[in-house]
Symmetry: C2
C-alpha cells in the first residue's frame, strides 16, 4: 500500500528519481564507484553540474544576462548573502512581510543596514498577501517570498517596480512558468520541487552585482561562485545530482507549463473539498491560496481530531500535520505528487463526514 507523502519539505520527489539515485549509489556512470565517492572535478560530475544548470536555464527560459548557481546553506543563508551583495551602506531595502521566512529575511538585512517592512499580514497570522503598498523606485531592492509554506499563501502577481526585485521562491519554483527577466535575484532551497535538502538554487542578474560597496566575505559573494561555476569549493555533489535528475523528470513531463496545470488541478480538487465539507475550514484568503500548500482546520477539533487522525493513518497519509503556528492540517502538493494522493486525502475527509 502506497504511502502518500504530504510533507512540507524535505518532501516528495519523483519515484523514478529515487530508483535511479539508488542505483547510482552503488555504480555511477559505469565507473564502478558510488556517485558520492567521486571527485567533484571528475568529468562525470562536471557533466552533472553542467546539465543541472542547463536544465534550469531551459525550463525557466533564463536570459543569458543571468547566472545560475548551486550553493549551500539554504534560503536562510541567502537572507544574509543577498543583503551583503545588494544593500549599500547608505541605501535602503524594502521587504514584504508575508510570513516567518519573510520576517527572517528582513531581520538579516536590518542587522546589516537600513531595511524596512513595507507591508505585513502578521496581525492576521499571515493568512493573506498584502497588496496595498508602494515600492520606492530608488530602494536598493524590494524583497518578497513567493509562496508561504507555513500559511498556505502564494503571490499570484508580482509587483511592478523600478527597484531591483528579489524573491525567495523556495517553495514554488518550477511549479509554474516564470518571467525571470522581471527579477534581479531569485533563490530557492532545493528541498521542495527541485531536489533533496543541501543545495540552494540562485538565479542572479550579472550586472546587478558589485554595487553594495561593502566588504563581502568570499563565500557570501555571488561573484566568487559565478567565477568558478559553483565550484569555488566542493559543491553539495549528491543534492546537485538529484536536482539534475528531478529537472530531467520535469522536462520529460512537459516542463513548468504542464506542472502548473497538474498543480492547479490537484489544488482545485482539495480546496473544493475543504470548502464543501462541513467538517473543515481553510485558513488562507481564497484569492491568495497556494497551489503548493493547503492549510485547513477541523471545525470541531475536540470532537473529531482523534477520529480524523486515525482515518489518515489508516490510509497511509504522511506529513499532513499543520505547522504549530497555524495548527490543524497542511497538505503539501509539490510537483512530484500524483493526483491519487490528493484523492486519498479527499477520501479521508469524506469518511470523517460520513462517520459523524
Amino acid at each position: 500500500m502506497k504511502t502518500h507523502n504530504f510533507s512540507a519539505g524535505p518532501c516528495i520527489l519523483p519515484q523514478e528519481v529515487f530508483k535511479e539515485v539508488s542505483e547510482s549509489l552503488i555504480n555511477f556512470d559505469n565507473l564502478g564507484l558510488s556517485v558520492i565517492e567521486i571527485s567533484h572535478r571528475s568529468k562525470s560530475f562536471v557533466a552533472v553540474m553542467d546539465e543541472a544548470v542547463a536544465l534550469v536555464r531551459e525550463q525557466l527560459q533564463i536570459p543569458d544576462t543571468y547566472e545560475v548557481l548551486f550553493l549551500q546553506g539554504g534560503a536562510s543563508m541567502q537572507f544574509a548573502m543577498l543583503a551583503f551583495n545588494f544593500l549599500s551602506e547608505n541605501g535602503k531595502a524594502q521587504y514584504l512581510d508575508t510570513g516567518a521566512w519573510s520576517s527572517k529575511a528582513y531581520k538579516e538585512a536590518a542587522g546589516l543596514g537600513n531595511a524596512e517592512v513595507l507591508a505585513s499580514s502578521k496581525e492576521a497570522n499571515y493568512n493573506f498577501i498584502p497588496k496595498d503598498y508602494e515600492i520606492e523606485d530608488d530602494a536598493d531592492y524590494f524583497h518578497c517570498t513567493s509562496n508561504n509554506t507555513i500559511y498556505g499563501t502564494q503571490i499570484k502577481k508580482f509587483p511592478q517596480t523600478e527597484a531591483p526585485l528579489i524573491c525567495d521562491m523556495s517553495s514554488d519554483i518550477f511549479s509554474r512558468p516564470l518571467d525571470v527577466s522581471k527579477f534581479d535575484l531569485i533563490y530557492a532551497g532545493a528541498q521542495k520541487n527541485l531536489g533533496p535538502a543541501g543545495a540552494t538554487l540562485v538565479i542572479v542578474k550579472k550586472d546587478a552585482l558589485g554595487r553594495s560597496g561593502r566588504y563581502i566575505p568570499t563565500m557570501l559573494d555571488y561573484n566568487t561562485h559565478i567565477s568558478k561555476g559553483s565550484m569555488f569549493n566542493t559543491p553539495p555533489v549528491f543534492s546537485v545530482y538529484v536536482s539534475m535528475l528531478t529537472l530531467r523528470w520535469l522536462k520529460a513531463n512537459g516542463g513548468v507549463e504542464a506542472a502548473q496545470k497538474r498543480n492547479e488541478e490537484k489544488a482545485a480538487l482539495l480546496y473544493n473539498e475543504i470548502d464543501r465539507n462541513p467538517f473543515f475550514t481553510g485558513t488562507a484568503a481564497v484569492e491568495d491560496r497556494s497551489t503548493m500548500n493547503a492549510c485547513f482546520l477541523l471545525n470541531d477539533e475536540a470532537a473529531h481530531k482523534e477520529a480524523f487522525d486515525a482515518i489518515i493513518a489508516e490510509k497511509k497519509i504522511y506529513g499532513v500535520n499543520g505547522h504549530r503556528s497555524v495548527g490543524g492540517y497542511r497538505a503539501s502538493m509539490y510537483n512530484a505528487m500524483d493526483l491519487d494522493s490528493v484523492v486519498a486525502l479527499l477520501d479521508c475527509m469524506k469518511e470523517l463526514e460520513n462517520k459523524f
Copy 2:
C-alpha cells in the same frame, strides 16, 4: 574487477554504507518513503541527527563543555564564520600557513579584522610544516590546518598555547585519536573520512563563544545552530544520514585507534615503496608526511608518464592525479580504503620499474 578509489575528496566511503544508503533511497526506516523525502522534523530523521552527534562525541571522547554541529558550506564557509565569532574588533588572529586552504582561511580573517601569518612554508611549495614560531598568549586565536591534502603534509604534534586553538581538520578527522580539550574550535568538511560532500562538522567549546563583540549574521553565529541542535534551518539531511552510517562503521571497526593503526600501515607500505623504487620521489618532508595523502613524482616524467598512466588505468586505479600545484601523483588513503587498494598501487609502481 574492483575500482581502487584514491580520490582526494569527495572520496571513498565504506562499501557497506553505500549498500545501506542505496536501500534507504527507496525505503527508509520502514516508512515506505525515501530518506530524502521525509521531513527533517520527523522522528526518523531526528533520531539520525541525534545518533550522528552522539557517535561523534563517543568516537572523539568530546567533553560535555563542547557542542557538536552539522552545518553547510564546507570548510570555506567556516573560514569566515570562525572569524566573525572569534576575532574581536581590536583583537588579533594568528595563522599558520601550510597550504592553499590555510591561506584562504587567513584571507577571510584579514578581510574582517587584524590577522597575521605567523609562519609559512609557501616558499617551499608547502612541502613541510613550519615548527619554529611563537603564538602570542593574548591573540584572539591561533589557526592551523591539521592535514594538507594538496601537499601531503600533516601536523603530528599541535602547538601548546594559551590562546584559543582553532583547527581545520577536514582531511584527517577520525583518522587518529584526538585530544579535543586542547582546542576551542575544530571544523571539518565531511567529504573525507566522515561522509559525502554537503555537511560540515563543527566541534566548539561553548564558553569560547560570544566574545567577538561583532554583529554576526544569524547563519554565521555558532550560537544560532547550538540553540537549535543544528536544525535552525533544514539541515543537509542526506549528508548527515550517510555520515551517521559511516560513524557506525567506524565504531564497529574499532574506532579511531584502530583506524589510526590501519592508516599508518597503509601509509608505511606506500611511503616505503616511494622511497625504495628508483622511479619515484616523494614531495613532502619525511617527518611531516601525511597518513592520508601521499604525494609523489616520477623522476623522469617525460620517459615514464605515459607508461605508468597506462599501468594504473589497467589496474583500475582511480583518482591518483596530483593537484596541479604539485604535479605528479597523489594517493589519498582515507579510513575506508582497504589495504588491497594500496597493494594494487604498489604493484603498478613495481610493474613500471620492471618494465624499464
